[in-house]
Amino acid sequence: MSQLLLNETSRGESPSMRIFIGLLLAIVVNYGLFTLMKEMTTSDSSLYRDDNEILVLDFVRLKQEETQPETIKREIPKKPPPPEEPPPPTPTTAPKMTQPDVQQPQMDMPRIDVPLNIAGQPYLGDFSAEPAPAPSPTPVQGPQMDDEVVPLVRIPPNYPRVAQRRGIEGVVTVVFTITRDGRVKDPQVVSANPENVFDNAAKTAILKWKFKPKVVDGEPVERRATQEIEFKLAR
């Protein structure tokens, strides 16, 4: 081998010279290769740019703002004239019928008058406000239209095994407090049919529900609410 190297050097150019040339060209070639790799990995930059332009166009659209429910809510309280003085408090057993406004045909909203609360409607949906336990000395306001109790999470109750075996169905009405963060506190069974069958199941179920908390002047407030839970056997 050393003989060969000597031969080569004696014959002409040394191999180191060739390797140097090769190294220079190899760096150029690999620069090209890695540029190609870079192009392959970052080929989607143009897509990002397109996305951004589309987003800007989205941002300019005005239709979405018009369809936001908040603007409707702001307009409605201005329209109706202030209602008359609320009637005196009545016992809870006799809920007074109030016809819902024509403007909101499908919303079931508890009508809450602050000092003397009146349970609102026949059973249109799930909710009717419970009469307040004690009148509080606050000035009378108009009925708040944006005050709906919306269950965000409904957990179906566990059907009690005894009832399931015997094929019993029923309804339980539960009164509970919706806390500021929308959870349920201290539920109480108001009426149950049949009694003492579904009470515990209804209580444990309602504790897992989540509601939209009531908002007064932008602040969430605790409130009482009632909820009917039906127990029906699926057949």
Binding site: L4, G12, R18, I19, G22, A26, N30, Y31, T41
Partner: protein, 170 residues
């Protein structure tokens, strides 16, 4: 300049194995180009020198002369085939280095997953990018060298035959 910066970013996201791949690729291409320079520019000169030596001899048919001819052919073969095996080895080793990078990147990914669960997608993406970029680098560099090493091997075999033909015995 911007391109260099981008390549530097690529190297950073590829990790240490990508540097190994880059070094191996540079070595491979250095040797390939060295071989081409030798075959195109230096080898013809060598052949001419050998032919002069050969034709200065008086007898071309004796056993001694045959042995000298064989020696000359073998010498030129050695000179021609000098780095070929090394280049061939590098083209085989580069994809394996890419695989090594793949494994390395996946290990990093699973490390992130064991610590953070699947929530830390950004950390996982780092490992996955190491895996994929090194794989791509190994494959791309090996592919770029594959054609040239094959062509070199054929060319060298042909050149050795040409040398044997040039040293005629008559």
């Amino acid at each position: 300049m911007d391109n260099l910066f981008q390549i530097q970013l690529l190297m950073e996201s590829g990790g240490t194995v990508l540097w190994l791949i880059l070094l191996a690729s540079i070595l491979m291409w250095t040797l390939i180009i060295e071989r081409y320079v030798f075959i195109w520019f230096l080898h013809p000169r060598e052949v001419r020198k050998m032919m002069d030596e050969w034709h200065q001899r008086d007898d071309l048919a004796s056993w001694y002369a045959q042995q000298i001819r064989q020696g000359m052919i073998a010498e030129s073969r050695v000179m021609l085939e000098r780095f070929l095996i090394l280049i061939r080895t590098l083209t085989v080793a580069l994809p394996m280095l890419g695989l090594l990078g793949t494994v390395d990147g996946m290990i990093q990914t699973f490390d992130v997953m064991t610590v953070f669960g699947t929530g830390n997608t950004r950390g996982m993406a780092g490992g996955i990018s190491v895996a994929l970029i090194t794989t791509m680098g190994g494959l791309l560099t090996a592919l770029s060298g594959l054609y040239f090493i094959t062509q070199l091997e054929q060319r060298v075999a042909r050149e050795v035959n040409n040398v044997a033909d040039a040293l005629r015995r008559d």
